[in-house]
Symmetry: C2
Subunit: 153 residues, 2 copies
DNA sequence: CAAAACCCTGTAGCCACTTCAAGGTCAAGC
DNA sequence: GCTTGACCTTGAAGTGGCTACAGGGTTTTG
């Protein structure tokens, strides 16, 4: 059989770090695989597919919880099409909302940037003065259900 | 003098949770304030201004590290205008890059959503099949310096 | 003078990993 | 056979920016 992969082989096939594979196993997204005589994890084709699924979902910025739900649907024969649609639609909504929020942020930042145009090293920058004030920045409305901030990696 | 605020007063004036104030102090963004006889933190006008500055920056999704740098500039008389511009410009670049990334994500998600149009509860959803495959999702290019993912709060 | 509201410190939890330490296993080269 | 080095193992700790306790002390209010 062509499928007796060690964790490093699986990592290469799925472009997923070894540590993340072990993490997914701890989190219950990947089943505990068989072990070799030397206590090495031994994976097969179904693990490659399941991990590919997980990584695809992560590339789409789904949370592990969302992925857990999708995997549950996937595991049950005739996985519920309606539930899949609902989950995906909600995720799309969150992403769209985050885009809107970041666009507003960008507008605010560019406005702030225009507050100072000088390149005078000795001047007190007008940007700092704006950041001091109460009116510099508007609050970004109510909380987003699950869309993260502007920085990452 | 009108300025002998307890931590709760400062929290109300800056719309910042009490716990975050203590957190900023631990992180060195806010100086350790004087204490009352009962060991309560005692704040003045300068703390209100500094914390407002910090919160404004956070509303603009700057990292604590970026804020630390801005505070350093702010603390030095004639704070360096050029450095401020550079920091802000870089932050704007990151936000813009994250917007682009999320827009692509949205496009991918909507494409995936279109893969299945049926509302048949018993059908195996075509979306799940797409997520299995190697070609379902394109990788999002090289790493973003510091812009976070799609979920938050 | 008691209850309620506020404050204190310290610790743990969140997410999705990443990094490290301290070792065990295995294939290749000499 | 023996060593080197690549790979594997577990477990713990760190990341960011908070948030939420637990278990106390202090101050204000009625």
């Amino acid at each position: 059989m062509s499928s007796a992969l060690k964790i490093g082989d699986l990592a290469r096939r799925t472009a997923c770090p070894v540590e993340s594979i072990r993490f997914y196993e701890r989190e219950g997204l990947l089943p505990e695989p068989a072990r070799t005589a030397g206590n090495y994890r031994s994976y097969g084709r179904e693990h490659v597919e399941r991990l590919s699924f997980i990584r695809n979902c992560r590339l789409l910025d789904m949370t592990l919880d969302e992925i857990r739900q999708l995997l549950h649907i996937r595991d049950n024969p005739r996985g519920d099409c309606v539930a899949t649609h609902a989950l995906l639609d909600e995720h799309i909504t969150h992403v769209a909302a985050r885009i809107t929020e970041l666009q507003r942020l960008e507008r605010d930042l560019k406005g702030l940037r225009r507050a100072c145009r000088t390149a005078d090293v000795d001047a007190k920058c007008a940007i700092l003065a704006e950041l001091d004030g109460q009116t510099a920045v508007k609050s970004p409305g109510k909380s987003m259900p699950h869309v993260r901030g502007a920085h990452r990696r």
